[in-house]
Symmetry: C2
């Protein structure tokens, strides 16, 4: 991060007509954005993109989700048609939704869909590796390239989103390994599975770890054996955004596990992460803590798609606006304490 | 609240392409807004106004604030000139800042200032009643009238804001009485007072309660003896908004104590309150709990002015947008779980 820009932003914040530090995390955000972008006071808000990565999961064969797998491509089409929750929230916050097929099962085509398909869904991790090491790398690279292309096109602020029926299951498995946690601590109800399904999900996570024996010291080994294509793809987006000095807002449970993967692979990505909301999904708080991130929104959401992250865009714009537009004690003639 | 409108909004939320309830408090907000306004699906976002009430406090003589009293009128002029934090955040969220002089010490005039001055600051509550009962009523009525005038002019969503050097001290005293709490539990650092000032502040609150012996069963007695003109005024704004079926977003500590006062005087106002952020100021969490409200934003802010409340406007617009714009399972051809 650009320390000089951060010092300059911090000094300016203390000249603004408010008690020092009284805007709390808005001030922290303003300082960090200065450090990330190298610009103490940005002239205008950053251009925003929500990257929604979609992939399918072989582990659905174990009955781990409340919805059938066909919902993954159906929802992708909805993202492209503009009728999903993330479209509504992105429109309201002035963000573009960029939809990427990184591994949806079955054929999918649409003029606005970025097709970066590595394979048509993962294999069932409860019976073997979800992906090969090479496939995980290809998904990561695809994510990095998407972020770089968007940065080229002028986007300066990213949010992660995902769609993939079953994807809280691999996320829980990854968090169990990287967090040193048991399946029962990290497995939650996802889109709303019943008690029997929850037990199956827990068992699938335990079996996947037992069958695959991932090497905790080798992030790519863990990610390929227990991950998902969209999780690897989002890890790539995060790494690509960081490499272009763009901040990236992390959505809920799956996105936060993708951020964990990104930071395992590229620890330098950490300061580029901005936490958004605290999801209802069981493992989310644990995953955030593992990254040392504190959520700003407490809304009890559990939808994914990038919806929680998009709701943070106005807070980021607010942080920038405060630096840009507020008067100083001197200019306004206000007495200091 | 309009139960039929709430049922209709809830039914529509469950038809939208997302797992039921997965948008959490955004869904609760959408349902409550339907109940408040009587419109299940609003055609457009509500017009927003942040009402900033300004008043001075005789208790400043006890050395309870980090800033001198002259800052109150100085900041009011800044609100009117557009350079304060609340102006920046209101512009970003499409809200109007309405500034009311309900009891600033000394002369103040500006073409956009609503002058509703009851008296030029309260008396020192550590030595006697802050206001007479009649003055508290006049401040309440002024607030009710401001809300009603704004509702007449088409504003449909309010936020409370305040400015008044020293006003966390009367707020702490009111919360101590209404919450059955001790001074040390409710007195915080306000704009940033040092340890010696904190001790003086605690003592001032204790003395104010001992000297005035407010009758807890008589909300007007408590409010007039220990309150502030802007606190009474905001309680009036809340009551006026509720009477016009307008939701009102409650800012930080002082605003939340004003909401407590409003609900003591008019318990029917409660369902019209929308909590915003959790302030750093010590007593805020306690005051929210007393009202049964949970904050949505955790930003460690402690500025007042309505800044935390304004940051909730985009969330309210998001809740409305979801209901208005999202596709349904049927229209989008998505399989249900």
């Amino acid at each position: 991060l650009d320390e000089a820009a951060m010092r300059e932003a911090a000094a300016r914040l203390d000249q603004l007509i408010k008690p020092p530090g009284s805007l709390g995390r808005l001030e922290e955000l303003a300082i960090r954005l200065a450090g990330i972008t190298g610009t103490p006071v940005a002239e205008r808000p950053l251009r925003k993109a929500v990257v929604v990565m979609a992939g399918d999961h072989g582990v659905c064969d174990e009955g781990v989700s409340a919805f059938p797998q066909e919902v993954t491509p159906q929802m992708v089409l909805n993202f492209l048609q503009g009728g999903a929750a993330i479209n509504v929230l992105a429109r309201q916050t002035g963000a573009e939704v960029v939809c990427v097929d990184i591994g949806v099962k079955g054929d999918l085509a649409h003029e606005r869909l970025l097709s970066r398909r590595v394979r048509g869904g993962t294999a069932n991790m409860a019976r073997g590796a979800a992906m090969t090491r090479e496939e995980a790398i290809r998904a990561l690279v695809a994510g990095i390239e998407v972020a770089e292309e968007l940065a080229e096109r002028g986007y300066g602020l990213f949010a992660t989103g995902e769609m993939g029926i079953g994807n809280t299951t691999p996320s829980a498995a990854l968090l169990a390994v990287w967090g040193g946690l048991e399946a029962k601590e990290v497995v939650g109800r996802g889109t709303g599975i019943d008690d029997a399904g929850l037990a199956r999900k827990r068992e699938a996570v335990e079996r996947a770890i037992a069958v695959n024996r991932p090497d905790e010291a080798d992030p790519l080994d863990v990610l390929s054996k227990l991950g998902g294509l969209e999780i690897a793809g989002l890890a790539g987006v995060i790494i690509g955004a960081a490499s272009r000095r763009c901040p990236v807002v992390i959505d809920g449970f799956i996105s936060t596990v993708a951020a964990l993967a990104a930071c395992k692979l590229a620890p330098g990505a950490e300061p580029y992460l901005i936490a958004s909301h605290l999801s209802e999904e069981r493992g989310h708080g644990l995953a955030l803590r593992k990254l040392g991130l504190a959520p700003m929104l407490h809304l009890g959401m559990r939808l994914g798609e990038g919806t929680g992250a998009a709701l943070v865009f106005p807070l980021i714009d607010a942080a920038g606006g405060v630096l840009r537009e507020m008067a100083t004690f001197d200019s306004a003639g206000v007495s200091k304490g």
